[in-house]
């Protein structure tokens, strides 16, 4: 366990720092932006699609489980990413006049 810490020291640092950043970064969001922000964040975690792509791309041609599940995973991931960003953009359209 302990030695795992020092072998993964840098990983741990990255995680800790990201946590701080995640909190700092949205610290002062006005409540009217809560929904778009949620939706934007939702699109960002669609980055999981990268994993799906790797699974898919590594699957041997005979390994149908991997192929099919991977295929599904990529579709779902894309839905998350594309849908997420588009919906967010549409929401923010609503607020654009605010900016002026």
């Amino acid at each position: 366990m302990l030695d795992w810490i020092s072998t993964h020291e840098q990983m741990i640092y990255i995680v800790v720092l990201m946590v701080f950043l995640g909190i700092e970064v949205i610290g002062r969001v006005p409540s009217v932006l809560h929904t778009p922000l949620m939706s934007g964040a939702n699109a960002i975690h669609g980055v999981v699609i990268i994993g799906a792509i790797i699974v898919m791309g590594k699957a041997e041609a005979d390994n149908y489980v991997a192929l099919i599940l991977g295929f599904l995973a990529v579709i779902l991931g894309t839905l998350n990413v594309v849908g997420g960003f588009v919906v967010t953009d549409r929401m923010l359209e609503m607020f654009k006049k605010k900016k002026v």
Binding site: G22, H34, V47, G51, L76, N80, G84
Partner: protein, 489 residues
């Protein structure tokens, strides 16, 4: 070389995620922030497809499949997101979030099979496992344990997020009703503990004998997701979705560990942290605690209150024609939209009323409470759909300054956000929530269908105040009739 470019692409992606999220929390930059993050994501995806190499330097294959999937997902996603009605967007977000969770879970399943195969069956396949070994750039068989740990985490969190989001979605569009059986919370906790125990057991000694338990876990997690969300009141879904959203973030981060992929790791953790904070902020905005939302005691209290509450004193009603009179001869009218307006889908009628009054030379404005409706910005979105111009919408602060100079306030299906108890009654569940001071105006007309309470499930003194008069009926219907009346004035 290619790998280095890939690294750089991932770094760029991570940065765009941070910047994007930062800008998303600033009204002026939100939209470009979203686009920046999207750009970063695109880079990361295509960089992965074309530059990724496993630790034996093998590039990815199955490009056909990958692009097919990308295109399908892309088209469906775009269409769904474009077609959805403004007011149904939280549902959409919930679905997309579920997709992400499912994606994470699927990855875990596949990786588990790989790991299992390569560890216990065909050793010739061990090339692959060595792969994970190095991927986790660590020594000792400890790796498998760590890998398993990550895989299980991804599976459990992902599944919960998926199942939960689906239920949340069902609730938002009314397909699923609030259900809860006695001692459900106990049941949930037990279920969760059981899942974790099995997982721990498998992680320590996985064998050909017990590997099927993996699927038990999968099933258990899905079940938990369902029971976790079922009892929570439909109005709290925005909060729940935001919470599940951060879950999915963590699930994605697990993938990041699994493939030692920084883009996934940073993106996932970022959303995990930000999502959690956002969830808390959302609760604050309605001033409630997260636990309060999850244990749903609020909803419970609501009903009880509603029942127990006796009609304290008497309220006066006002006829359509009188209302028409009052408004046509007013100098300034403020409209306070609330959840009811959304339920009645009366935004267009409302906009029409506004125009007619303006033609009569009446100044019309809208007073928007930050948590009016069932999601932050709900009213902005709703009215924007009926293209009410934005300069007519006043944030709570400005609005409260203007009420004193207002002749008539028309409250359309709003209740809690104009409940004076929030200021006067420390015992009230909404005590402390800033509200719209409609009482400053000369007259105050409230449209709702009955004397029933709103979301908070509490009586509203306002209705019994001298200045206030009730105009019962469905918002849409009432507005349409009102418009006719005004025309005839």
């Amino acid at each position: 070389m290619e790998l280095d470019i890939l690294t750089i692409c991932y770094l760029v992606a991570s940065i765009t995620f941070i910047l994007g999220l930062k800008m998303l929390s600033n009204p002026a930059k939100a939209r470009s922030g979203n686009l920046i993050a999207a750009a970063g994501m695109t880079i990361a995806i295509f960089a992965t497809i074309f530059l990724y190499k496993d630790d034996n330097g093998k590039a990815l294959h199955n490009y056909g499949w990958i692009f097919a999937a990308l295109i399908i997902g892309g088209i469906v996603g775009t269409l769904a997101a474009k077609k959805v009605k403004m007011t149904a967007m939280p549902e959409m977000v919930s679905i997309f979030n579920g997709m992400g969770g499912a994606c994470a879970a699927l990855i875990s399943i596949v990786e588990f099979n790989h790991l299992y195969k390569s560890n216990f069956l065909v050793k010739e396949n061990s090339l692959y496992i060595s792969d994970i070994y190095t991927a986790l750039n660590s020594a000792s068989h400890f790796v498998t344990t760590a890998t398993l740990l990550i895989i299980f985490a991804g599976l459990i969190i992902g599944s919960i997020s998926f199942a939960g989001s689906m239920i949340a979605w069902g609730k938002l569009n009314g397909k699923v009703k609030d259900k809860s059986f006695k001692g459900q919370h106990v049941f949930n906790i037990v279920l969760l503990i059981a899942i974790l125990l099995i997982a721990a057991y498998l992680i320590i000694n996985l064998s050909t004998a017990n590997y099927f338990l993996f699927y038990v876990i999968l099933f258990g997690a899905l079940l938990y997701g369902i029971f976790f969300v079922l009892p929570i009141g439909g109005a709290d879904m925005p909060v729940v979705i935001s919470l599940l959203n951060s879950f999915t973030g963590v699930a994605a981060a697990c993938g990041g560990f699994l493939y030692n992929n920084k883009a996934m790791l940073t993106g996932g953790i970022l959303v995990g942290a930000a999502g959690t904070l956002l969830t808390i902020l959302m609760c604050k905005a309605m001033n409630r605690s997260l636990t309060n939302v999850l244990i749903g005691s609020f909803g419970a209290k609501a009903t009880s209150n509603a029942v127990s509450s006796k009609d304290q004193g008497h309220y006066k009603e006002i006829s359509l024609s009188d209302t028409a009179m009052l408004m046509s001869y007013a100098k300034k009218v403020m409209i306070v939209p609330g959840y009811g307006l959304a339920v009645a889908q009366a935004q267009h009628a409302c906009h029409e009323l506004e125009k007619i009054l303006e033609d009569k030379g009446v100044e019309v404005k809208y007073a928007i409470h930050p948590v009016a409706g069932r999601m932050p910005g709900h009213m902005n979105v709703l009215l924007a759909e009926a293209d009410v111009s934005y300069d007519k919408l006043e944030e709570m602060e400005q609005a409260n300054e203007e009420f004193s100079t207002t002749d008539v306030v028309l409250i359309l299906g709003a209740n809690d956000v104009v409940n004076p108890a929030a200021k006067t009654d420390p015992a009230s569940p909404i005590y402390g929530m800033p509200i719209l001071d409609v009482e400053l105006a000369k007259n105050c007309i409230v449209n709702k269908r009955s004397m029933k309470p709103g979301y908070a499930g509490i009586e509203n003194d306002l209705f019994f105040r001298p200045k206030t008069s009730m105009l019962f009926g469905d918002a849409k219907k009432v507005l349409q009739d009102l418009i006719i009346e005004i025309k005839n004035v």
